[in-house]
């Protein structure tokens, strides 16, 4: 990894009494893919708008490759691509006209412009739709068009706000492949999404946000491991789960027991080593409370929800 491409320090943006972004700080390195995760209203979109110079913070600083993006937004804009959660169709505009305008806006002329339009349309797989009106496109095609527009000018840093929102599984899969191709090109990506499993596949680092704050950041492994000490177990009960839950609540070795939809109980064992964990499990068997225990890894959704509950 190289030097930070983006450095955000104490960024604040309030809308009257609403603290959309309340003093966040983080860094992104070139070529990194980072997922921005948060509940609705946690400040993800506002953060992204601030990073792309589309909004102005009340205070704080944003540096893009050492350039102050707040003082010299025009210098960094050409290097940033922004893909919003939704591309609202423009009337009386075809796909090629739309992309062509942005190619012109980036100063491309003649055959270079034609080649650039073709390049992004081919990359996003919508070349055959070039003569179609934008308002006749499906949701998946619109998102591809939005990505094509974002890629005009070949920006180094791409900001994607819920890029896969509203897409069917097939379109989502195809979109994921496009993102992978961009990663291979060495682009720096900042992606927000509610589908955390997909983000986990696409991104090598995550930022968790809540109420305008960054509450945790790191790789998926770091986040999951650092979420809580102990080991996660899935326990199968003998009969009713109530006696097991009551026992776990009384025991010092166990914490956070949650009954799952399939009847199993998900619980964290706080015992420090393998021997102690084995002892705790044997105690459960001796009480005739469980007939199966399996160790499993906490997934990103569970980690996120767990961290949110801790914060609140």
């Amino acid at each position: 990894m190289s030097e930070p491409i983006l450095k955000v320090t104490d960024l604040v943006r309030h809308f009257s009494a609403v603290k959309a972004v309340d003093g966040i700080s983080f860094e992104l390195k070139a070529g990194q893919s980072v997922g921005l995760i948060g509940a609705n209203g946690s400040g993800k979109t506002t953060t992204m708008r601030l990073l792309t110079t589309l909004d102005l913070p009340d205070s704080g600083s944003i540096e893009f490759e050492g350039i102050d993006a707040l003082a010299y937004p025009e210098k960094v804009r050409a290097r940033i691509g922004w893909m919003p959660d939704e591309l609202v169709p423009v009337e009386h505009t075809t796909v090629s006209d739309y992309i062509d305008f942005f190619a012109r806006a980036y100063g491309l002329t003649g055959s270079k412009r034609v080649a650039e339009v073709k390049r992004v349309l081919v990359f996003c797989g919508i070349e055959e739709l070039s003569k179609r009106y934008i308002n006749k496109l499906s949701k998946g095609q619109t998102q591809r068009l939005s990505l094509a527009r974002t890629l005009i000018g070949n920006p180094d840093f791409l900001v994607m706000d819920e890029p896969a929102a509203g897409l069917d599984p097939q379109a989502r899969l195809e979109f994921k492949q496009l993102v992978r191709a961009l990663q291979q090109q060495g682009k720096t990506l900042l992606i927000s999404s509610h589908i955390l499993s997909e983000l986990a596949e696409m991104c090598d680092s995550m930022i968790f946000m809540d109420k305008g704050h960054v509450i945790r950041r790191g790789s998926q492994e770091e986040l999951v491991a650092g979420d809580e000490p102990g080991t996660l177990y899935s326990l199968r009960c003998v009969g009713d789960s109530a006696p097991l839950l009551a026992y776990l609540a009384m025991s010092k070795d166990w914490r956070g027991a949650v009954c799952q939809a399939d009847g199993s109980v998900l619980v964290t064992c706080l015992a420090p080593d393998d021997e102690a964990r084995a002892g705790a499990l044997r105690a459960l068997c001796a009480e005739n409370l469980i007939w199966e225990a399996s160790c499993r890894r906490r997934n990103l959704e569970e980690t996120f929800v767990n961290i949110l509950q801790e914060q609140r």
Partner: protein, 483 residues
Amino acid sequence: MNKYFSDYLPPALVRDFRRSLRSRGYVLMLLIAVLVAVWVQYDAIAQLPESKSMGGGTTLTMIGVFLFWCIIPHRAGRAVLADCRVKSANYMMLTPLSSRHIVWSTWFSAVVQLLIVGGIGALILWWRQVATPDMPLTEASLFSLTGSLFPGVPFFSWQPVTFTQVWVIYALMLGVGALLCAVFMSLAQMSTFTRLIVICAMATVALSWGMAQITTILDSGRSPADILLAGVSGISLWCRLADAALVLWVLLELARRSYASPAENCSWGLRLWALAPMVLVAALHYAAPEESELMTEQLEFSVAMGLVICLCDALLPTYSLPGHGRRTWPLLPSYLQTPGLGQAAFFLVLVLAANWGVHVWQMQESSVPYLLNKGLSAEWMDGLHSLRLLYALLCALLLTDLLCGSMNANRPTVFAVLLLGLDIVAGFVAPGATQDVYLSSVIPCSEVLLQIKTAEQLTVCSAVSAACCLLMLAGLIFRGRRS
């Protein structure tokens, strides 16, 4: 032709022009209007042996007004509005295109469309001139249909006009059309309510101007062409062109804020740049070798335009920066930021400045700057038509609010209270105003009641005024009950 010819044109112009050409409804409307114009002129020429003069001028003028003043400016406004609504303005901010470039290109696109359509109209006029070089033209008085409102005035009247007058008026219509494109573009950034009241303000001024036109035509018997062309020569023509350029600059600077990034919109640079034309005019004024009344008027006009910009900057939110703390005018304390107050103040300034000005302009036949200098006189109170229009306007707003039910609950009320407050002040300060005038300003119905009681000057306007007053009162009562 080089297949990359369009590379030499501004991107926004190419985009907007393509979009217009792809809009079937828009193209169809232009074509139908042109075809109607051709048909009317052909019909007029075909009847030549029987008729002693050429008719059809009014139709051409009306089609021109429809296309140059309504359709094409509306289209230009919609281009900006669409960018704001679909967030295209956001995407454009990230490109190297400057906000000024986008706005001027969009305006140029509208002007090119004006010139194309205007060129077709000019061809039709030229055809008519070539076909009948010696035949005198006649044109129906623009407002003759409303003559029935005035006792003793014929329903329909014809005015003789020369081809020179027709060409000048045609060019003037195109020029005003270009300005209106900028007006509609500058309105696009405003909220729906603010846009509504500004359009109402413009309608008020236009109606006021129309009524003053009727009065002048009826009093003097002169055609609109005579009035418009009176005293236009030399320096006054240049001054008027400079005024138009100044207004255009200001309007496009306002429209530009829709495409400017938040940093730009918050910057003092943008504000100062918007004031630059005023500084230029002031510098020219002081650089002028000798004192000229016109230059003095222009200086005052530029100061007035500067005030309008400051007011807009303080009161109008932009799409790119809704309610940002850095942009709010620090002189306006939070307790004064009542919903509707800003829009109402903006509306009042707009209506009063323009309405007084146009009224006085019509009376004095002077340049635009002159009207602002002399506008603050009591002459506008004559006949109270301005007040009637204000009441009608307020009534329309309240009615719209009642029907839509989607506006902020406080805005129309604040608006109404401010308007009535203004009337009361106007009643006090108007020199020579009678008790009746004062009463009318406080209680609009009193004027009508007085007229009915004395049976004097009872016209259709009185009935309209009465209906407006009643509706306004009903609206206020309804709103009071609801809140």
